[in-house]
Symmetry: C2
Subunit: 148 residues, 2 copies
DNA sequence: CTGCCTGCAAATCTTTTGCACCATT
DNA sequence: AATGGTGCAAAAGATTTGCAGGCAG
């Protein structure tokens, strides 16, 4: 499988766009940052390496990365768009602790298959899905009453 | 089960807040509107009945309805917060056509149970979840190539 | 009076866009 | 020259907040 940079420049080329130093830097920084980055967080990291990069460029590049399916938006319901690396990653869903914010990546093949079947039963061809499980993790349950 | 209005005024009372004509009107309008309303849509409907109601009041009331679990936020990833009636409704997830936006409410008991088990296997106590399946519906697949 | 509510407008916050200039072909 | 790309600042869109006045107990 080709490296993400190559995948990105291929995507750009296919749309008559160009790989630029800024885009390369943003992509590199994005890849190094694991977890779920907001545009602003990414902008800050990028700025640390090259203060001349503008915030709009980060927004624009993140959108390109989404379109090219190298990044994927994850939405935790706070008003901020977050992105995670998608290219070359296994699909996964999210298990989130509502108290401490801990975020575990999960996947269950049986559920995946049932989702497919469920969509089919409604005549849909399933393209993708998002599943978020919200609960309280073990350690937060132990120190009960400590928050809220 | 008590009617939503009662549930809401009980919730308000429990927080030393009051049921007001505006709040009542907003709740009534919200209940009559099925599907997934944005604050602005709801504001427009409310305004049609009583033009003196302000937009901020709709936002504020919608937040109260969320807190009281009478409404629930659904997030389709466009920048707008939408709400649906939650109180007294069965839980359901969403099957969304990426082409025409058709939105079907779905539920699969087996998936629900597996989600519970999956969370448990990570030591989580599952409180709630959100699942969105995105695909292409049958009629959109037939008129293929008609969009995008 | 006191405390909650409301409408309005101003403020915030995130994201997008217009524009003039730059770089590469 | 032509086509994109960029940074900046302004704009846009959604939501929140400050405030002065209003109402109910």
């Amino acid at each position: 499988m080709k490296p993400p940079e190559k995948a990105f420049s291929d995507y750009l080329a296919s749309r008559n766009l160009k790989m630029t130093p800024q885009r390369r830097l943003i992509l590199e920084t994005f890849i190094k940052t694991d977890g779920h980055v907001s545009s602003e967080e990414l902008y800050n990291r990028v700025k640390a390496k090259d203060p001349s990069v503008g915030q709009a460029t980060v927004y624009r590049t993140l959108k390109l990365l989404s379109e090219s399916e190298i990044a994927e938006a994850v939405d935790f319901g706070d008003g901020v768009a977050r992105y995670e690396l998608h290219y070359g990653q296994d699909h996964h869903d999210h298990l989130i602790c509502e108290r401490c914010g801990k975020n575990i990546e999960i996947v269950d093949p049986t559920i995946e298959r049932l989702q497919e079947e469920l969509a089919e039963s409604y005549g849909f061809e399933l393209e993708r899905h998002k599943m978020y499980l919200f609960g309280i993790c073990e350690s937060c349950r132990k120190k009960k009453g400590s928050s809220e």
